[in-house]
């Protein structure tokens, strides 16, 4: 009896040891970035072994914000994320509603075409033609191009999430509204959309994460217009420039500016993050 109890305790110690090691490795890069952003450039370039700054300085943030254009980058990121989030909520819920409740010719065929696009694994390889098509419409040098492409090109994962959520709403609600003379569009506006609130929170958070973190597409669309770069692109641009070695302070403070809002949103809404991502991936 006693030895099995001992075994259990030592097993528990081992488990917490594993969890703690993973915890340290997980949190270290974030901690390193935050601490590094308060180091003077002098210290960053000479003393890599010390993690906590010998003296906390805020100059990096001042320099990034004023001289290195991060104020502009941040507002670009907010602009981009805001319109993509609002637009995606509208298009995803409309698409989910139309494919779940609508009746029109070739509905299943169209739905099949949309879904099958998921299996063509081109990823970032279609960026060039997308840019060229945007160019034909004159939206290739601003963030509006990215917003329009992200909002209008149907995201299959979102479509699946909304469609299966709408399926759980009783059809009888629609039908009684129809009897009262509500049109198909009217039912969406005044009945379905308000019922989708929990789903909209999930969609908003997933889309925000995606839009805020996106790199390649906004980079391609702001190649000729650096004023419109979002944060991630702006930071990466520093790394690619010749002055990379002397701008560690800017890269670290810039990364903190990009990462902290995301972490705060995550810590507040972590339930929605986890639910949304798992729902999407398992069904997608």
């Amino acid at each position: 009896m006693r030895s099995s109890k001992m075994k259990k305790i030592s097993g528990n110690i081992l488990i917490y040891l594993v969890l703690t090691v993973v915890f340290i490795v997980t949190i270290f890069p974030v901690f390193y970035t935050l601490m590094g952003s308060f180091k003077s450039n002098m210290e960053l370039l000479t003393n890599g072994g010390r993690i906590i700054p010998s003296e906390f300085v805020f100059d990096n943030y001042k320099e990034a914000w004023k001289l290195a254009n991060f104020k502009q980058y941040t507002s670009n990121s907010l602009f981009l994320a805001f319109f993509i989030v609002v637009g995606t909520i509208i298009t995803s819920t409309v698409a989910g509603y139309v494919f779940e409740r609508g009746n029109f010719r070739y509905k299943n065929l169209i739905f099949g075409m949309v879904v099958s696009s998921m299996f063509v694994s081109l990823g970032s390889l279609t960026l060039y033609p997308q840019l060229m098509i945007a160019k034909a419409f004159g939206i290739n040098t601003s963030l509006w191009g990215v917003i329009i492409i992200r909002v209008l090109s149907m995201n299959v994962t979102n479509l699946f999430i909304t469609r299966s959520y709408i399926r759980t709403i009783s059809v009888e609600i629609d039908e009684s509204a129809k009897v009262d003379g509500c049109s198909f569009f009217r039912i969406y506006i005044s009945i379905i959309f308000p019922l989708l609130k929990p789903l909209i929170a999930t969609l908003a958070i997933l889309t925000f994460r995606f839009a805020w973190n996106d790199y390649l597409m906004p980079m391609v669309f702001t190649l000729s217009n650096p004023e419109r770069m979002p944060l991630v692109v702006g930071i990466m641009n520093l790394k690619g420039s010749g002055a990379a070695a002397s701008s560690w302070n800017l890269m670290l403070s810039g990364s903190s500016i990009a990462v902290i809002p995301m972490i705060i949103v995550y810590l507040i809404f972590n339930r929605y993050f986890i639910e949304g991502l798992t729902a999407g991936a398992v069904k997608g």
């Binding site: 594993v18 696009s117 279609t126 991936a281």
Partner: protein
């Protein structure tokens, strides 16, 4: 079906039904246009340009010359594909068992489970590009913190130049990718574990099954279907990695760490001082898409046993 019967009856009801379906079409139309313009049209564009030589200004039809070039003359393409495969399978060999182990450890409802779950998922919300940047600063050769720490505890005498050789550079990239992604896989496994019926374990306990047998004979088969999908997503996602490479090594040293996505991307955009070759890039994009589809198909075939394990 039920809907239809309700409406098709009198002529006024038919009119009503028609009005509703017109509205449905009008509501979905903007997205369908967007979908065809930005998802289908690019594929058509690539299919066409694969048979042309083009620098963005002048196009010349050259038949299957681009494909001949990929298959016979471009060794760098195949080595970038090899890098993507090495990186994918190398990092997943760590990431998937780690995610599964953590899920099993956190599934028991021990103290602090919620806290660990939230922290382990945290890297997932950080942009892959920023994650790559942070890791490349941490592993910097002269002033990176990893070298600094290793030196101060006496493990190494001189700083290691992590990005100077293919092996150590791919190690850092793989490390960054595992860090960035293990949390999501852990959550998938955790969800699957929670749906395993508790009485299965109780029966096993009565029969005196030890924890290792329990894991391989009960847990793993029960979460088989989830495991199959998670692994497929992880494989395809990792093979398509691009941001992380651009933000860490960018293919250096001398293109030895280039992966297939970044290699093709650079031909499209003339990124990094390369000449723009849209036709050739399109041909490589098609070859890559076909290879990825073959890998997924092969995987599904091989892993079917996993999916049908109960």
């Amino acid at each position: 079906m039920k809907n239809k019967n309700n409406y098709i009856g009198s002529s006024s009801q038919i009119k009503w039904y028609k009005k509703d379906s017109t509205q449905a079409i009008l509501m979905i139309a903007p997205m369908l246009i967007g979908f065809f313009l930005f998802t289908y049209a690019p594929i058509v564009y690539i299919l066409r340009y694969a048979f042309y030589e083009s620098n963005g200004f002048k196009d010349t039809f050259i038949g299957i010359e681009n494909f001949i070039r990929v298959f016979t003359r471009d060794l760098a393409y195949w080595s970038s594909l090899k890098n993507a495969l090495v990186l994918t399978f190398g990092k997943l060999a760590v990431e998937i068992p780690l995610a599964l182990l953590l899920a099993v450890l956190l599934n028991k409802g021990r103290k602090g489970t919620g806290f660990f779950r939230i922290t382990f998922f945290l890297p997932t919300v950080i942009s892959a590009a920023i994650a790559g940047l942070i890791f490349s600063l941490m592993f910097g050769s002269f002033n990176g913190t990893v070298n600094g720490v290793l030196q101060s505890i006496g493990l190494i005498e001189r700083p290691i130049n992590w990005f100077s050789s293919r092996g150590s550079a791919l190690f850092v990239v793989g490390f960054a990718s595992v860090w960035n992604n293990f949390g999501i896989n852990m959550i998938f496994f955790l969800m699957a574990l929670q749906s395993v019926p508790k009485d299965l374990y109780e029966c096993a306990d009565l029969d005196g099954v030890n924890p290792i047998q329990r894991f391989f004979k009960i847990t793993l088969p029960m979460i088989g279907p989830t495991f199959q999908v998670v692994l497929l997503n992880a494989i395809v996602g990792s093979l398509k990695m691009a941001d992380l490479i651009l933000s860490t090594t960018n293919g250096q040293p001398a293109g030895k760490t280039e992966v297939v996505m970044t290699y093709v991307f650079k031909y499209f955009f003339g990124y990094d001082g390369r000449a723009i070759e849209i036709g050739y890039a399109s041909a490589m994009a098609i070859v890559t898409a076909v290879i990825l589809a073959l890998i997924s198909g092969l995987y599904m075939k091989l892993s079917n046993k996993l999916g049908n394990s109960y």
